[in-house]
């Protein structure tokens, strides 16, 4: 419903036949999708469906068994370190727990990418960091340590760090999980603002239905390592698929019918 016209039709992220394992266990079972430039894609799915695994692959933190992942045209499963390095400067990530460095002040955390990747002098970097802190409504907190921040402030600081290099791609893992509704909603607004103001392509992993419906251009629904739905908010909301409706209404899956498999699992003889 929102913003499809705002997105250009160029592909920013391309995932093809992605198959991944943890040890012997197959987690993602051949996942393919595109994300367009300037689009907000929300990845949803039940616990254990493979959302974090998918995200970690998009970030190049895990190597897939097979398949291709192209970010801004670079296949990160094959790219040499230098190309990867160049690409990483165009990506920002806000991790679920913030992943702020606990030994550095909030300001230093936000400045870290600038310090490592640019030759700006300290004054300029401080100004740029403060600019981003304004964006996330954290102005004036740069001298606090991460341990002194509230949950919502940590998520916003993590967002500020993620956007300090003005990335083209922004990834957010559960940006509003565990926050009270008002704060959660303010983070949703912030994500929308970032896309509108800076034209970022944004991938959000979330459990929160309300937040997904509010920010998503399209929603991707994962279940047991497979895509069971990919479409606009309305398409997903009105989907006829039982599995999607179960997920949306938080119904548990139907009871297991295979008694043998159930017994085998109980006795650990799989």
């Amino acid at each position: 419903m929102n913003g499809v016209d705002r997105t250009s039709s160029r592909v920013a992220i391309e995932v093809r036949d992605l198959v991944t394992h943890y040890g012997e266990r197959k987690i993602l079972k051949g996942v393919s999708f595109d994300i367009l430039e300037g689009e907000i894609l929300v990845i949803m799915g039940g616990s254990g469906s493979g959302k974090s695994t998918l995200l970690n692959h998009l970030l190049g933190l895990l190597r897939p068994t097979s398949g291709a992942i192209r970010l801004l045209g670079v296949d990160i499963t094959k790219a040499p370190p230098r190309e990867m390095q160049a690409l990483r400067r165009k990506m920002g990530v806000a991790f679920q727990g913030g992943a702020l460095f606990s030994s550095m002040s909030v300001g230093d955390n936000i400045m870290l990418p600038l310090r490592e990747h640019t030759r700006l002098d300290r004054k300029t970097m401080e100004i740029m960091a403060r600019l981003k802190m304004e964006v996330v409504d954290l102005a004036g907190f740069e001298n606090l340590m991460p341990a002194e921040l509230s949950g919502g402030m940590i998520k916003r600081a993590a967002l500020a760090r993620a956007i300090v290099m003005d990335p083209k791609l922004l990834f957010c893992d559960e940006p509003s999980a565990g926050l009270d509704p008002v704060v959660a909603s303010s983070i949703d607004d912030l994500i929308l603002r970032l896309r509108d103001a800076m034209g970022m392509t944004i991938v959000v992993v979330t459990h929160e239905l309300e937040s997904a419906f509010k920010i998503a251009d399209r929603i991707l629904v994962l279940d047991k390592g497979e895509i069971i739905g990919l479409g606009s908010v309305d398409e997903i909301r009105n989907s006829a698929s039982e599995r999607i409706q179960n997920l949306l209404h938080r119904r548990t899956e139907e009871v297991e019918l295979d008694a043998d498999a159930y017994l085998r699992r109980l006795t650990g003889e799989e």
Partner: protein
């Protein structure tokens, strides 16, 4: 019965494979750390001095009081035992060579290594483990900042500087402590004791002690980093790996010491 044996063998095999894999990981880490030290500037990812200085303060300066106390104690202890043993042969005055050699070649580096492993090696494992479960290591990686350069090189350099320095200090202090005891017990002045020490000891003895402490420095760092990096399962996992890292570091130090002595003094 048979299946039990097979399972046990399987578990043994797993442990061996895991151990070999960890050593391989440690070797790769060391190689990568040296790479960043040498090439960081050219890759526009230089190793910075400030964190190294901070680590040196923590690993070295803060350990100075306890190293001093332990070294004095060890020195006095060696003197007491040496005099007691030699008295049986009426040769108390021959105690100095025994003290000098064992302090310089063995006890000072060993005690310092064990102390640093317990103080700083464990802290390193705990810190990296916590960073790992908080996804801070992932965050570094996605920012294009090498976690090895950022997290491993500073403690490695600091250890390489501080463990030998602390060892040198504990050699001086232990010899001094022993000298005070010897000169107060036997008919020998402190100056005579010191002169005899200097006459006995060669640069080779010092190199022996210092060479070991360099190896201990590398061992402590690698054991701490490998254990920290393989933490899984929350705060409990951090605790488990921290304990494991202390046990492994001390074992590695003692075993390496033995191998070193065997190879060098045979």
């Amino acid at each position: 019965m048979l299946t039990q044996t097979v399972r046990m063998l399987g578990r043994l095999g797993e442990t061996v494979v895991k151990g070999v894999a960890e050593m391989g990981f440690a070797a790769v880490l060391l190689g990568e750390a040296l790479f960043w030290l040498a090439m960081g500037r050219r890759r526009e990812q230089p190793v910075r001095l400030a964190p190294i200085v901070a680590e040196m303060t923590e690993i070295g300066l803060r350990a100075l009081p306890i190293v001093t106390v332990l070294a004095v104690t060890i020195g006095i202890m060696l003197a007491i035992q040496g005099i007691y043993t030699l008295r049986m042969f009426g040769a108390e005055s021959q105690v100095v060579p025994g003290i000098a050699f064992s302090v310089v070649r063995e006890f000072a580096p060993l005690i310092t290594g064990i102390l640093v492993a317990g103080r700083s090696g464990s802290a390193l494992a705990a810190r990296l483990g916590t960073m790992r479960i908080n996804q801070e290591v992932d965050a570094l990686q996605v920012m294009g900042i090498s976690p090895v350069r950022f997290l491993v090189v500073p403690p490695l350099v600091a250890m390489l500087v501080m463990v030998p320095s602390l060892s040198l200090w504990s050699i001086l202090v232990a010899l001094g402590g022993a000298g005070v005891y010897v000169s107060s017990t036997l008919d020998m002045t402190f100056a005579a004791y010191a002169r005899q020490c200097l006459e006995m000891l060669t640069l080779g003895d010092l190199a022996h002690g210092m060479g070991k402490s360099f190896i201990f420095a590398v061992l402590i760092t690698l054991v701490g980093v490998v254990n920290g990096a393989s933490v899984s399962g929350g705060a409990e996992g951090v605790g488990r790996m921290t304990t494991r890292s202390v046990v492994q570091a001390i074992s590695a130090i003692v075993i390496t010491d033995m191998i070193f002595v065997f190879l060098v003094t045979r």
